[in-house]
């Protein structure tokens, strides 16, 4: 597929919901992709086809449907591994989403490896899902949670990481690859190499990065990496935890139950091999199979083309928004250092009011704290507006967003 503006526009035909009219017959302008993306027919049809023609539980029965379902499910695992340049697909664990993935690590790895006085380092721009599990763990273990602050550009102040690491007490550094509010792309390689040199484990929350750029996990060389399918054209309820095999093998299980066992006796159990040891219970089979189609779809366009398309949209949005009086933009001014997320405030109008008024023009953005209250506190705002882009968005839609702000100005007599 050619990566031209018009070919990206053609993609829109694959997404039925993008043809919708909302409110007073306004064309839907969907700019809330950092929350979740829309789904193409290819994904929707695969899920429907699975239930219509194959539905079965997996991994045990020998009948035809079970065999087909198991094969499709496991093919997705291989596809995910290849997509992220992971050599061994046993390292790919299916979970419900990023939140569950992080909680799995906090519970199964954290409870065995974090002791009193240890330090876990996170950052000020984390989603609540990469803060709360660590608060729970450090409180339970009497360990400490420390933050890498952000500077005025919305970038991490890495010298603080050096200070923390020099205490010799840090056991884990956990951070998002890309901030869901500021769009800042973290200096992953630098952080990983700092941690590697002192034997500290690294977890990366890839919820906002995997959908938007080429990710090579072998090259990044972290210990854990987590992301969600629904932010990359896939269904809700599917996520992936990747971790190095030697770590997974040593880790205690997370949930106990069916499929994660090798042998169960009255008072003891032995665990199944990877990845099943961490996949207790019937998984979300249909949606995992649907997720494979999302990956195929993205691969066909090419992750680098997607990144370039979003970069172009982000540059355009930043340039156009700068021209509107009363807009405060958050995050770095350099588009190359950020993903397709633009957080802003408009005069002193509360984001909920902005959101409600432009919703009437058919424009869907997010207004609120974006599950990042620690960051809101840092920015000293109650909330922000956030427009976030994906493959099917166009410059014309950004124009609609900006003109809809004129309505806000009018309503608030600015």
């Amino acid at each position: 597929m050619q990566a031209t503006t018009s070919s990206f526009k053609d993609l829109r035909n694959d997404f039925p919901v993008l043809n919708r009219r909302v409110r007073d017959n306004k064309k839907l302008v969907y700019l809330d992709n950092a929350a979740t993306t829309q789904k193409p027919n290819q994904v929707i049809d695969a899920i429907s086809d699975y239930y219509k023609n194959h539905n079965s539980n997996i991994h045990r029965a020998v009948h035809a449907l079970a065999e087909e379902s198991t094969e499709a499910f496991e093919e997705t695992r291989d596809k995910v591994a290849k997509f992220l340049n992971v050599e061994d697909s046993q390292e790919i664990i299916f979970v419900r989403g990023t939140t569950e993935g992080i909680n799995l690590v906090a519970y199964a790895w954290g409870r065995d490896n974090i002791k009193e006085g240890d330090i876990i380092v996170t950052t000020e721009y984390e989603h609540h899902s990469n803060i709360v599990p660590w608060q729970l763990l450090t409180q339970e273990k009497k360990a400490k949670l420390k933050y890498i602050d952000i500077d005025d550009n919305g970038e991490l102040m890495l010298e603080q990481l050096d200070d923390y690491l020099s205490t010799g007490k840090v056991k884990l550094v956990t951070f998002s690859h890309m901030s869901n509010v500021l769009g800042t792309i973290s200096p992953v390689k630098e952080i990983v190499s700092k941690c590697r040199s002192v034997g500290v484990k690294v977890l990366i929350d890839g919820a906002q990065s995997v959908p938007h750029m080429k990710i090579d996990l072998t090259d990044l060389n972290s210990d854990f990496y987590v992301f969600s399918a629904h932010k990359m054209l896939g269904p809700t309820g599917v996520g992936v935890l990747w971790a190095k095999k030697e770590i997974l093998e040593k880790m205690s299980p997370f949930l106990g139950g069916g499929d994660m066992i090798r042998e169960v006796h009255k008072y003891e159990t032995t665990w199944n091999d990877l990845p099943y040891k961490f996949e207790a219970g019937t998984p979300n089979i249909a949606d995992v199979i649907g997720f494979a189609k999302a990956i195929e779809y993205l691969e066909k366009i090419g992750m680098n083309n997607i990144r370039n398309h979003e970069l172009e949209l982000t540059k355009y949005a930043l340039d156009e928004m700068k021209k509107v009086p009363g807009i405060t933009l958050y995050g770095t001014k350099e588009p190359e250092k950020r993903g397709g997320v633009v957080s802003f405030n408009f005069n002193d109008v509360h984001p909920h009011d902005v959101g409600t008024i432009i919703d009437k023009e058919g424009v869907a953005i997010r207004s609120g704290h974006h599950c990042a209250q620690v960051l809101m506190e840092k920015l000293n705002v109650a909330a922000t507006n956030r427009a976030s882009f994906y493959i099917y968005n166009t410059k014309e839609e950004i124009d609609v967003l900006i003109s809809s702000l004129q309505h806000v100005a009018k309503v608030f007599k600015l």
Binding site: H350, D353, G368, A382, H407, V411
Partner: protein, 149 residues
């Protein structure tokens, strides 16, 4: 956009110039509450003289709807007796600003409109429990506040 059913002249005006905005030092009742999903966050302060609300103020961060409703609520409540506050309904507050329709049209924004009332009812509830030892009134208030939206 004239005739907007939510953003009336009155709401915009109140959000720009909220009434009774500020703190009461050493207030008899101080209550904080927030809407976890949207982030509106207010503190409500009340002084009680006998059985009357002698003074009331609020501060915090919120959208225009939240600010306007908090303002109007404080105006309506000031000088009322505790008994009157107990009986004060959400319809009275919403109709003052012409926002009754939110109950049906916007389950999201109704929370912004009623946060201050919820905070008030919970505040009075704790006053009934702690100061007046009136658990019957308190029980009703608690239930009402918890089920406001």
């Amino acid at each position: 956009m004239s005739g907007d059913p939510i953003y009336t002249e009155m709401i915009i005006e109140y959000s720009r110039n909220p009434s009774n905005y500020g703190k009461l030092e050493d207030a008899h009742i101080h209550r904080h509450d927030s809407n976890p999903l949207c982030g509106d966050s207010i503190d409500l302060y009340l002084n009680i003289d006998g059985d009357k609300i002698s003074d009331i103020k609020f501060d915090g961060k919120g959208c225009a709807i939240c600010m306007a409703c908090s303002s109007v609520l404080t105006e309506m409540i000031k000088g009322k007796t505790l008994d009157e506050v107990k009986k004060f309904t959400k319809d009275e507050l919403l109709s003052e600003l012409g926002l009754e329709h939110l109950i049906k049209t916007s389950p999201v924004r109704i929370k912004c409109a009623l946060l201050s009332l919820k905070t008030l009812k919970f505040g009075i509830y704790s006053y009934f429990v702690d100061k007046l030892k009136d658990s019957e009134s308190a029980g009703n208030l608690n239930e009402e506040a918890a089920n406001l939206y």
